[in-house]
């Protein structure tokens, strides 16, 4: 074709599309020589011709070989909806949409959360810092180290005391760190007397410049339990080095059951129960989350009465990342040798069983009285309605966990929200999307702003300023707030 038409390869029709024109499907277009997905606005006009309502282009949406979803399944998230503070005015968009004959209402607002923060789960066995240590961003205190969970270190960042209770710089640094984490950007955090860690939602943590790869398969004791059978007969003694509980095969219940004889090994640290030792070394970023580089440094001398020359010893970390193999010489000193092939397999197996290490970021915030007032004239009724499960709360379309007890305190996984869903105000406080979805009749009952309810079509068709709206593919793993149970069942066929 001797012109500037382009060949669309989106489907086997392989249309030649001239600049400014669409292909046979009306869904792909040539925009200045670039093949682009069509502006949904144009789809809107065409879709009406097919007796259908608006068809947002949702890829890989559901069953039926890529069938499009349309109309009522357009869900308006709160991102960019705007708000005022305090929320004395009705929420910017109160949208109704008919789902399987039931009029549903979504009250879409952006909440200003001065009571908010993030809970960070960092999958690592490395020691990041002592519990309660201060976590800093840009040198300012933005949170603290909290509990150690199975294979992960939890950090709690933000909260009203860092945001508005400290210095101006502290508040700004906190807000900045929260905003970036919630928008899935990388943030460098320095823990007092601990590690420097770079965290980003859904990415592996980078601890003191080392990218974490795997979570440990279990603690040292659990690892002994899982692999004892595979080691039995191939090696005489195994030590799984772990900052939490270091396991010793011959003394461990799992070894006893198999009949593994005593080896005369002596572990440093404090014995908890047989074969399980606490504090064999100091916490650190090396072997099994300890500070040791030489595994023999956690061993005492072998018992001369029990140990024998040639005894085979495997030492391995809980991720399989560190390992060493020794045999005892005539003076009963361990001498490092090459790992036999039979044991290499078991070390590989430990690695295989370790899941990829990730950072996960949960946004946590409380919907205060004034935000609720943007939804209804009688704010406490909204709280009750959420409690009674009549109202579903979502954050940028993502599901939330609503804490039991008073108020509406929620947690949501930022990786399930659209990108850049969060904003901030100079208070400082985060601006987060929050949607309340309920039946139109229930909305009236709880004192909703019935005269401000707009049908979904008015958002998608009357306001034709596409620039001001962003259309995104729905995440299939997010519960679609406006889908009736009936159609969800059908989709699940």
């Amino acid at each position: 074709m001797a012109d500037d038409a382009i060949r669309c390869d989106a489907c086997p029709v392989l249309c030649y599309i001239k600049p400014g024109r669409t292909g046979a499907c009306d869904r792909y277009a040539n925009a200045d020589g670039q093949l682009v997905r069509l502006d949904p606005h144009v789809v809107l006009e065409r879709a009406v011709s097919r007796g259908d309502t608006v068809v947002p282009f949702l890829e890989k949406s559901r069953e039926w070989g890529g069938a499009l979803l349309s109309g009522e399944e357009t869900f308006v998230t709160a991102i960019g909806a705007g708000t005022t503070y305090p929320d004395y005015k009705p929420a910017p968009f109160i949208i109704s949409s008919e789902v399987a004959g039931v009029d549903m209402v979504t009250v879409v607002t952006e909440g200003i959360f001065s009571y908010c923060g993030v809970k960070l789960k960092i999958d690592t066995d490395r020691h990041l810092g002592a519990e309660c240590s201060t976590v800093r961003a840009q040198g300012e205190a933005v949170g603290h180290v909290t509990t150690n969970e199975y294979g992960s270190q939890m950090l709690s960042l933000g909260g009203v005391r860092h945001l508005t209770g400290g210095s101006r710089r502290e508040g700004t640094a906190t807000c900045d760190a929260l905003l970036n984490l919630c928008n899935r950007k990388a943030v460098e955090l320095k823990i007092d007397d601990g590690a420097t860690v770079i965290v980003q939602a859904d990415k592996a943590p980078i601890v003191d410049s080392v990218q974490e790869e795997r979570m440990r398969v279990g603690c040292g004791s659990a690892t002994i339990g899982m692999f004892a059978k595979q080691w039995f007969g191939k090696v005489d003694e195994v030590v799984v080095v772990d900052d939490h509980i270091t396991g010793v095969l011959s003394e461990h219940q799992a070894g006893k059951l198999l009949g593994v004889p005593e080896s005369g090994i002596k572990l440093k640290g404090r014995r908890s129960t047989p074969g399980r030792y606490f504090r064999v070394a100091e916490p650190g970023t090396s072997w099994g989350g300890t500070n040791i580089d030489d595994p023999l440094s956690i061993l005492g001398l072998f018992d001369r009465k029990v140990a024998r020359r040639g005894l085979r010893l495997l030492m391995v970390s809980t991720t399989g990342e560190h390992h060493a193999y020794f045999e005892l010489d005539e003076s009963l000193h361990p001498v490092e040798k090459e790992l036999p092939a039979a044991l290499r397999e078991s070390v590989e197996r430990i690695r295989e069983n370790c899941e990829p290490a990730l950072c996960t970021v949960l946004f946590m915030g409380g919907a205060g009285g004034s935000l609720r007032a943007g939804v209804t004239e009688n704010p406490v009724k909204l709280t009750h309605s959420v409690r009674d499960a009549l109202t579903r709360v979502t954050c940028g379309g993502a599901p939330v966990y609503v804490w039991p007890g008073g108020g509406i305190t929620i947690m949501a996984d930022v990786s399930r929200m659209p990108e850049n869903a969060f904003g901030y105000v100079p208070t400082p406080a985060l601006v987060a999307p929050i949607e309340f979805t309920l039946k139109l009749s229930d909305y009236a009952t709880l004192g909703g702003y019935m005269d401000h309810v707009r049908p979904l079509s008015s958002i998608t068709s009357i306001n034709r300023d596409e620039e001001s709206r962003r259309r995104l593919a729905a995440r299939p793993d997010n519960p679609w707030p406006l889908t009736s149970d009936k159609s969800r069942e059908k989709n699940g066929q």
Binding site: L14, Y16, V48, W64, A67, E72, A100, K490
Partner: protein, 293 residues
């Protein structure tokens, strides 16, 4: 499934089909599975013979190999000796027809329709009927009329064509809706009648060679309508009359059963008396009615 939990929506490349079946729930499920299974290969099957299907149809000569392609050719052949027409003029109707046939042979349904972008294939068990709504302008979804199709009528296909629709038109009709025995027949006929609603050489009708808009279009150098300016009542009447002549001749030969022609808000219908069809100019939308344009 569409959010109403009742209709099946299938989409592949330029093909966009909405299906609804009525009957026992288990039968509907069987029908939808059959429809989905058949739909998977449709686009590839058509694209495999696209070059042939974009060429002018001949009254005799080679047959394409695909079942849908054969339906397309059969639907346009009656026109082949008199005018330029390619099997593509019946593609949407032929796809609808094929999907409907697969569904009705797989399951026992009281009623069903397959709506392929406004070209619709119908199934009606005895004593069932469909209420059909018609839209003149795709960008203004209001009905200009409804009609009821009974199981006793021979009509099982509905199609609409016009220059505002998705495909190019040589004429100036906003919408020509045709009722025929089969969807592919209706599709081809709607194209032919819409092309005939015309004011050749009129200065306020903007026309562009089809290949300037879409280089690989089957219409090639032919001028397709891109804009229609203000027309006098006389011009509107003349254009509609030209279309009605064609529609009446198609009715006479049994290629179509009825047609509704719309231009600038003026609607004319062609209905042979013996069919007993009576369009009601009501704007009321019945439950389960089909809205198309």
């Amino acid at each position: 499934m569409l959010p109403d939990g009742l209709r099946l929506h299938m989409h592949d490349g330029p093909i966009d089909v909405i299906v609804e079946a009525f009957g026992a729930v288990s039968e509907i499920e069987v029908a939808y599975r059959a429809a989905a299974a058949r739909f998977v290969g449709v686009l590839d099957e058509l694209c495999g013979e696209l070059e042939f299907l974009r060429r002018r149809a001949c009254e005799d000569g080679d047959l394409p190999s695909g079942a849908i392609a054969r339906r397309m050719l059969a639907a346009v052949r009656p026109y082949a000796s008199r005018i330029f027409i390619t099997p593509m003029a019946a593609v949407a109707g032929a796809v609808a027809e094929e999907i409907l046939e697969v569904m009705t042979s797989a399951a026992k349904l009281s009623r069903a329709y397959v709506n392929d972008g406004g070209d619709i294939a119908l199934h009606l068990a005895p004593s069932e009927n469909f209420v059909v709504g018609m839209v003149e302008r795709p960008d203004r979804a209001s009905l200009f009329g409804t009609t009821t199709i009974e199981s006793g009528d021979p009509i099982r296909g509905i199609a609409t064509s016009g220059w505002r629709g998705r495909s190019f038109s040589l004429g100036i009709a906003d919408a020509v809706t045709v009722l025929a025995d089969k969807a592919a027949m209706a599709d081809a006929a709607a194209t032919v009648v819409a092309n005939a609603v015309d004011l050749p050489g009129h200065p306020r009708v903007g026309r562009v060679p089809a290949c300037d808009l879409a280089p690989d279009n089957d219409l090639g150098e032919r001028l397709v309508t891109q804009s229609v300016g203000e027309l006098t009542p006389g011009e509107i009447r003349d254009a509609l009359e030209a279309g009605i002549l064609v529609a009446e001749s198609l009715c006479g030969s049994g290629l179509i059963r009825a047609a509704a022609l719309n231009l600038h808000g003026e609607t004319r219908v062609v209905i042979p008396v013996e069919t007993g069809l009576a369009p009601s100019p009501s704007a009321a939308v019945h439950d389960r009615s089909l809205i198309h344009a």
